[in-house]
Amino acid sequence: MVNNPSLFKKLSVIIGKIASNYTPLLILLVTLVLFSFIAPNFTTFNNFRLMIRQISFVTISAVGLMFVMVAGGIDLSIGSQIILSNIVLSLMMSSTYGYGIDPLIAIPICIAIGTILGMANGALSNTLKVHPLIITLGTSYIYRGLGYIIAGGRNIDGLPDSFRVYGQGYVGPIPVPIIIMIIVAIIGVYFLHNTNFGSRVFAMGGNQEAAHLVGINIKRMKLIVFAIGGFASGITSVLLLSRVFNGQVTTGAGIEFDALTAALLGGVSFAGGEGTIFGLITGVMIIGVLNNGMQLFGLQDFYQNLIKGALLLAAVGYDEYQKSRRAKEIVEKAAA
C-alpha cells in the first residue's frame, strides 16, 4: 500500500536536499533561461565565448582565494596584489619606460611577486595574530600605494608584441585565458579536494584547535594558503596586462569583491571549512551571466549592482536558513 503522507514527506525531503545542495546551480540555470528569453543575442556561441573569457580572470583569482577561505581566512588584498605586480611586470617589459625584459623571464618574476605578496599576508597573520580581514585590508592599501608610487602617474606602454598572446590569443576557437582558467581550476580541484594538503586545509578551517592537536602545522599552512592566493593573483595579473596591454593602476582593482561574491554564491563558507571548486565556478558563472545578460538587456550599471547585491544577500541568507533548519532537525532528533 502506498502511504501518501509519508511519500509526500519523502518527496519534499528529496527536493529540499536537491535545493540545498545545488542552490547555486539552480540560480545559474534560472538566470541562463531568463536571459535567453529577454536578452537579445544572449544564446550565441560568440556571446558565450565572450562571457567566459570575461569571467576567466575572476575565476583564477577566486580559485586562489578559495584556499584561503576554506582554511578559515580571507584575502581582501587580491586586487591590490594584481595592481602592484601588474605595474612591476609592465615596467620590466616596457621598451619606452622600463627595461625591455623578455616576457618569458618577466612573467615568472611577476607570478613570484604575487606569491610573495600573498605569503606576506600569511606571515603577518601569524605574527600579529589579528584576523586576516584586518591584515589584508591593511596590506591592500600598502600594495596599492606601492603600485601607485612605482607607476608615478604613468600609463606604461611599449610592451612587446609577443606578450599579446596570453590575454588576447586563441587556441583554435578558444581564447587563451579560458584555457588557462581551465588548467588552474583542474589544478585547484586536485590540490583542494584530492590531496592530503587539501584535507588539512578543510580540517584547519573546520576546527583550528583540533587541527593543532592532530599535529597540523597551522602557521605553515597559513603561509601556504595565502601564498597560493598570491600565486593566482600573479597569473591573473599577467593575463589582465596582456589583455589591457597597458600598465595602469586601475587594472584588477576591486576584483576581490567579485571573487568573494562568487565564492559566497557558490556555497563557500565565510567561516571556513566548507566549499567546492565546482560551486565556486558556478558562483563565478552566475556573476558572469548576470553581468553579460543585463548588459545585453540594456540595464545600466547601477541596476546591475543593485541586483548583484540583492542576489548575494538572498543566496547567503537562504543558505544560513537551511543550515539553521538542519541544526534544529538534529537537535530534535537527538531529543526524540
Partner: protein, 260 residues
C-alpha cells in the same frame, strides 16, 4: 611481568599546591584500570602527565619497560599513547573517515600527496566494524552525531594509529544511560583488541562493570590498587573518602555524606 605503563614517584606542584605526591602506578598489558578519587585528588593531573599535557616535577615513566621522556602530546602519541578528552577534538565539517585520518591521511601515487580515498573509507569501515559501534557509514558527517557516536569516532582515530595505551577522561559523563552502556561495551572491545586502558571516572559502578583493577587517589597520593573481582562499591567509596589509613578530616566527613 612487563607493564604497559609504569610511573614511579611522580610529583607535581602547581604553585604552592602539591597535586601529586610520590605517586606510583602500574598498568598491566591489556587491562582496564579505573582511576578514581574525589575532585582535586589528582586523577586528571596524573593522566595529563602521561599524555604530555603537563610535565612531572619528579619521577620516572616506563612504557613497555623502556624509560621515556614525555615533553608534549606528540611525544606521547609517538609512544602509542592517546588521550581522549571530554571535549573531543573533532572536525564538525568533516565525515567520519576524514576525522579519523585528519593530519595523517592515507596517500598513494608517485607524488605521495594524492588522497587514497578508497583505502581511507575501507579502513574506516573496518575500524567501525572492529569496534562494533553503531555508525552506519564512514561517510556520515560527525556534526550530526550523538555524543556517544562522537566518542566512538575519537576511539576509532586512536586505534587507526595503533595506539597501545588509551587514556579516557570521563567518557560517560555527558552521555545518557543507553549511550553510556554502549560506550562501556566499546571500551571492553578495545581491551579485547589488545589495548591497555586507563579510565578516569566519577561513576564507580562503571568501573566495577568493566575494569580489572581500580586505582584510588586521595589528596594527590596513591591509596591502593584494588582488584575489581574482590571489591564492592562500598570498599571503593570508603577508600576514596577515608583513604588507606581511615583518617578522615572534617571536610572529608561532609563529602562522605554527599556520597550517601
Amino acid at each position: 611481568m612487563e607493564y604497559a605503563v609504569e610511573m614511579k614517584g611522580i610529583c607535581k606542584s602547581f604553585g604552592g599546591v602539591q597535586a601529586l605526591r610520590n605517586v606510583d602506578l602500574e598498568l598491566r598489558q591489556g587491562e582496564i584500570m579505573g582511576i578514581v578519587g574525589d575532585n582535586g585528588a589528582g586523577k586528571s593531573t596524573l593522566m595529563k602527565i602521561l599524555s604530555g599535557a603537563y610535565r612531572a616535577d619528579k619521577g620516572e615513566i616506563y612504557i613497555f619497560g623502556n624509560q621515556v621522556d614525555i615533553h608534549n602530546p606528540l611525544d606521547s602519541f609517538k609512544l602509542g599513547i592517546s588521550m581522549i578528552y571530554q571535549d573531543l577534538a573533532l572536525f564538525n565539517n568533516l565525515d567520519v573517515a576524514k576525522n579519523i585520518f585528519a593530519g595523517r591521511e592515507l596517500v598513494w601515487g608517485p607524488l605521495g600527496i594524492t588522497l587514497d580515498r578508497k583505502s581511507m573509507y575501507r579502513r574506516a569501515e573496518e575500524l567501525i566494524k572492529d569496534l562494533r559501534v553503531d555508525i552506519k557509514s564512514p561517510k556520515l558527517n560527525v556534526a550530526r552525531m550523538s555524543g556517544g557516536q562522537r566518542q566512538m569516532v575519537a576511539c576509532a582515530r586512536a586505534i587507526a594509529f595503533q595506539s597501545k595505551i588509551m587514556i579516557m577522561d570521563e567518557p560517560t559523563a555527558a552521555l545518557g544511560v543507553t549511550e553510556a552502556n554502549k560506550l562501556l561495551g566499546l571500551i571492553k572491545n578495545l581491551k579485547n583488541l589488545g589495548l591497555s586502558i586507563l579510565l578516569i571516572t566519577q561513576r564507580i559502578p562503571d568501573i566495577l562493570a568493566i575494569a580489572d583493577r581500580v586505582f584510588v587517589l586521595k589528596g594527590g597520593a596513591r591509596q591502593d590498587i584494588l582488584n575489581v573481582k574482590d571489591t564492592t562499591l562500598d570498599d571503593v567509596v570508603t577508600l576514596i573518602v577515608k583513604g588507606k589509613n581511615g583518617n578522615r578530616g572534617i571536610v572529608d566527613d561532609i563529602e562522605y555524606q554527599s556520597f550517601g
